[in-house]
């Protein structure tokens, strides 16, 4: 059986509904954060010549993901589809950030990549499900979150 394309995976995820997807995104963000914290700890034990770049990556990533996590939690609490769409878009942009960083030194990099890829799929499904330019889409998203 052929591996589904990214577009097919996103379409399949969308069927789960917004609330379930947002909940998944929260879980995945928490797993990502946990891995990044471990990466930060590992970075401190690297040889000096590697340490600086590795720590800068881990600390920057932690700061970014923490901010998005907070916004996600807030959007969920307030059932705010615009906030949720914005947060999903921000999580989606992590593809570029991680794509340009070097974390080959991290012992759990494969796990980090798996979690990140899954997170990117879920974020893309949420982002595609809410059209902030369409009042009907916003209303439907608001209902789905309540």
């Amino acid at each position: 059986m052929a591996t589904p394309t990214k577009a097919e995976r996103i379409e399949s995820l969308k069927k789960q509904g917004l609330k379930a997807l947002a909940s998944q995104l929260e879980d995945l963000a928490a797993r990502l954060m946990s891995l990044l914290s471990q990466a930060d700890a590992e970075a401190r034990r690297l040889p000096v010549e590697q340490q600086e770049g590795a720590q800068a990556f881990a600390q920057t990533a932690i700061g970014i993901v923490r901010e998005y996590q907070n916004r996600l939690m807030q959007s969920m609490l307030e059932r705010d589809p615009k906030g949720l769409e914005w947060t999903a878009g921000q999580f989606g942009s992590l593809a570029r950030f991680f794509g340009d960083e070097d974390y080959r030194w991290f012992s759990r990099r494969d796990e980090l990549d798996n979690v990140l890829d899954h997170l990117l799929d879920v974020a893309a499904a949420i982002f595609a499900s809410i059209n902030t330019f369409d009042p009907a889409s916003l209303e439907s998203a608001r209902e789905a979150l309540s």
């Binding site: 990214k6 615009k82 794509g99 960083e101 990117l120 893309a124």
Partner: protein
């Protein structure tokens, strides 16, 4: 006199006085992310009615005019951008600015009514309505349009012949303003839906800049000081300039250079100690720039349905299969392209990579460009779609691709900006190679906009 600074985006951050609750204290930082905060910001209504025009004519403050302008012109419109460009920094400084802004908004309505069908975002029903407005308010709209055209004619005259109008003032500011106005001219030649607001804002900024500079060369009775000619050729701009005191204009030009005003005064992020230590390149007298926060990134534009669709499509993009021996494009990185990337022979070409911290010359990153960094940060962040959170930037490296090297190339995908409602539109050429493929030609150099580098 109050500076009356306003935010750099059409909905603006919360240091704006709230039009709904004008007595409410303005807040310092962007916080649109909070729905609780957002509820105090008046968003444009989905439709306009006839009374909107009268409300515009009768508006007694920028706070009152702003939501009306948003509603009738649309958040991505050129004329709204122009209003913001002028009001950013000019509000509270130029006497009679409200009337000037009203004129710009009315001109925007005139252009919507009289422009070609394709230019108007109004649907056919509201277009009939707009024709009714035109019937009732024709002379007022036409007068606004005439005044705006005159203003633009004068503005182009000044920008093309600055030395004629500014004499010694121009000589001392030549580098700063020549860069800004070069960008202004460039943007005017590259119109697109995505940057209409930005173009308008830049025009408005330029108009304000010209007015402030004119104010510094006009004496107490409104005549040009010795050595400056041709002020008489600029009646509309000179009228505005006479509404500013020379001291205020000089203080504003000196204290707050235009770019700071435009970006809304975002703060900087304190870097982690390690990153800070690394932010000084070895054997160099310059520093990378700190990461910014709390601002709309330079080059970001208000979101549109088209940009939203482009982002949805990018996130669903699948990496093309790489032929044997070619570099593999990871699935994740395929989503950073605004169109399906192509495998291209870049052998012998010079590549550029903007960085925010030093990289080992033999372990350079994956994302490069075939174009050198532009002169202004807006162009780079906007076209390369690089968020503040990723890259404080400030430096760049170059590399020369070895013969026969293949890379994935295509336009950069849009990315959501740091502030809700805004997007970094992307579209600039982007080159992907696996990390460490390219070896830097030499140490990093400061980007042109890293003005603290020297």
């Amino acid at each position: 006199m109050a500076s009356g600074r306003i935010p750099s985006g059409p909905w603006g951050p919360s240091q704006f006085r709230d039009p709904v609750q004008p007595d409410r204290d303005p807040q310092r930082s962007f916080n649109w992310g909070s729905p609780a905060a957002r509820q105090h910001i008046q968003r444009p209504a989905p439709a306009t009615d006839f009374t909107s025009i009268w409300q515009i004519v009768r508006a007694d403050s920028w706070e009152a005019l702003k939501p009306l302008a948003l509603t009738v012109l649309g958040p991505e419109s050129h004329m709204l951008g122009f209003c913001f460009g002028v009001a950013e920094g000019g509000w509270g400084v130029i006497e009679g600015l409200l009337g000037f802004l009203q004129m710009i908004v009315l001109n925007g309505i005139y252009q919507k009514i009289h422009g070609p069908w394709g230019m108007s975002s109004w649907d056919p029903i509201s277009r009939w309505e707009s024709q009714a407005w035109d019937y009732l308010l024709h002379s007022r709209l036409e007068e606004a349009h005439r005044q705006f055209r005159q203003l633009m004619d004068e503005l182009h005259l000044v920008v093309s012949n600055p030395r004629e109008f500014f004499g010694n003032v121009w000589n001392s500011e030549v580098n700063e303003y020549s860069q800004k106005w070069k960008r202004y001219t460039w943007l005017l030649k590259h119109p697109s839906i995505a940057n209409e607001f930005q173009r308008g804002r830049l025009e408005g900024q330029t108009a304000l800049e010209v007015v402030l500079l004119l104010a510094t060369v006009i004496d107490g009775v409104g005549l040009a000081v010795k050595g400056v000619k041709a002020i008489g050729d600029l009646p509309a701009l000179a009228r505005l300039a006479r509404g500013v005191t020379k001291e205020e204009a000089e203080a504003l030009l000196k204290a707050r250079r235009f770019e700071d005003l435009r970006t809304g005064g975002g703060g900087t992020v304190e870097e982690p100690p390690v990153a800070a230590a690394r932010s000084k390149p070895a054997s160099s007298s310059w520093k990378f720039l700190p990461k910014q926060t709390g601002r709309i990134e330079p080059g970001a534009v208000p979101g549109t349905p088209e940009l939203k669709q482009a982002m949805v499509e990018a996130e669903a993009r699948t990496a093309p299969t790489a032929p044997d021996g070619s570099p593999v494009l990871p699935a994740r990185d395929a989503t950073t392209f605004g169109a399906t990337p192509k495998l291209t022979d870049i052998g012998g070409k010079k590549l550029y990579r903007v960085i925010g911290r030093a990289e080992e010359p033999t372990n350079t990153g994956s994302y490069w460009s075939l174009d050198p960094p532009p002169t202004i940060e807006d162009e780079w962040r906007g076209s390369a779609a690089v968020k503040d959170a990723w890259n404080g930037d400030g430096g760049y490296i170059t590399a020369t691709a070895p013969d026969g090297l293949k890379a994935w190339t295509g336009p950069a995908a849009p990315q959501p900006a740091a502030v809700e409602g805004y997007v970094l539109p992307g579209g600039g050429n982007q080159v992907y190679v696996p990390r460490g493929t390219l070896i830097a030609d030499g140490p990093p150099q400061p980007t042109p906009w890293n003005t603290g580098a020297k």
